[in-house]
C-alpha cells in the first residue's frame, strides 16, 4: 500500500492530565506569561498521536522538518488540572518530484477537555511536515 493510500489513518485515542508542573516547564521554555492555563502552543505537547503515525508510516524522526503549524482554539482552553483526550489523523499527502524531491504530509489532532466535564473541544492542530525525497 502506498503512503498516499494511507491518508485517513488514525492514532489511538490518548488521554492525559494537564499538570501545573508541565505547564510551568513549557511556559518557561517559551517565555510565556499566561497564568493558570496552558500557553497557546502547549497543544504541541499533545503530538503523541502524530509521532505514533510517523512510526506506522515508516518515517524516521530525524528526517522530518516542521514546515507549518496551525491551531484553532475553542471553548475555555486547558486550565491547570484538567484532563484532555486527543487523537491524530493523517490528513493529506503531497509530493514535489524531481532531483530535489520533497514530500509534504499533514496531520490533524483534535483535542477535547474531558475533566472537568462536560466534554468540550478546546482546539485543533494541523501540523505539516516535510521529508526530503519521495516517499512510496
Amino acid at each position: 500500500m502506498s503512503i498516499r493510500d494511507r491518508v485517513g489513518e488514525e492514532s489511538v485515542l490518548h488521554r492525559k492530565r494537564v499538570t501545573a508542573e508541565e505547564i510551568k516547564a513549557f511556559a518557561a521554555a517559551v517565555r510565556s506569561t499566561v497564568q493558570g492555563e496552558a500557553p497557546p502552543t502547549y497543544m504541541t505537547t499533545l503530538r503523541k498521536g502524530e509521532f505514533e503515525l510517523f512510526v506506522k508510516l515508516g518515517i524516521p524522526l530525524p528526517s522530518i522538518l516542521h514546515a507549518e503549524q496551525e491551531y484553532t482554539y475553542e471553548g475555555g482552553g486547558m486550565p491547570v488540572g484538567c484532563e484532555v483526550e486527543f487523537k491524530s489523523s493523517f490528513k493529506t499527502f503531497n509530493q514535489k518530484r524531481g532531483s530535489s524531491a520533497l514530500s509534504f504530509l499533514a496531520f490533524e489532532t483534535e483535542v477535547f477537555r474531558v475533566e472537568p466535564g462536560p466534554r468540550e473541544r478546546v482546539g485543533t492542530s494541523l501540523t505539516t511536515i516535510v521529508v526530503r525525497g519521495e516517499l512510496q
Binding site: S32, P39, T41, T44, R132
Partner: protein, 133 residues
Amino acid sequence: MSTASEVPFVSMIQVTRDHLRAYAAASGDNNPIHLDDAVAKANGLPGVIAHGMLTAGLMAERAQRWANEHASGKRLSGFHTRFRSMVFPGDEISIGGLARPGQSPGGADEVILELKARNQKGDIVVTGSAIFR
C-alpha cells in the same frame, strides 16, 4: 481597533543548546536533530537546529503580550506559523509585525496580528498570524 498599527519588534531569546534541551523536555519533541550534532549532520543539517515550535511559542507569546495591552478582553482563536528558515544555537530571535482589524466569517470583530520572527542578521525565520476575537 479601527486602523492598522505596528507591533514593535522585541528581542525574545538568544537560543542556546540548554534552551533546546529544556524545550525538548517540556514539549516531548525529542527529535535528535534538535539535540545531537552527529544525527543532525547525518541528516544533511550543519548541526542541531532549534525546534520550529520553540520560535512559534515565542511568537504566540509576543502576540499575547501585545493583545494584553491593545486588545484586552479578546481571546486567541487562531494561530498559524510557517517555518521559513532554520534557527541555530547562538541566534537571537526578535518578533514583531503589524496588527489590523478584521472580521470573522460570523461577523465578530477581530484583531489580526501578522508577525515575523527574524534572527540577528535580519533573516526572516518564521512568519505567522494570530487572531484575537
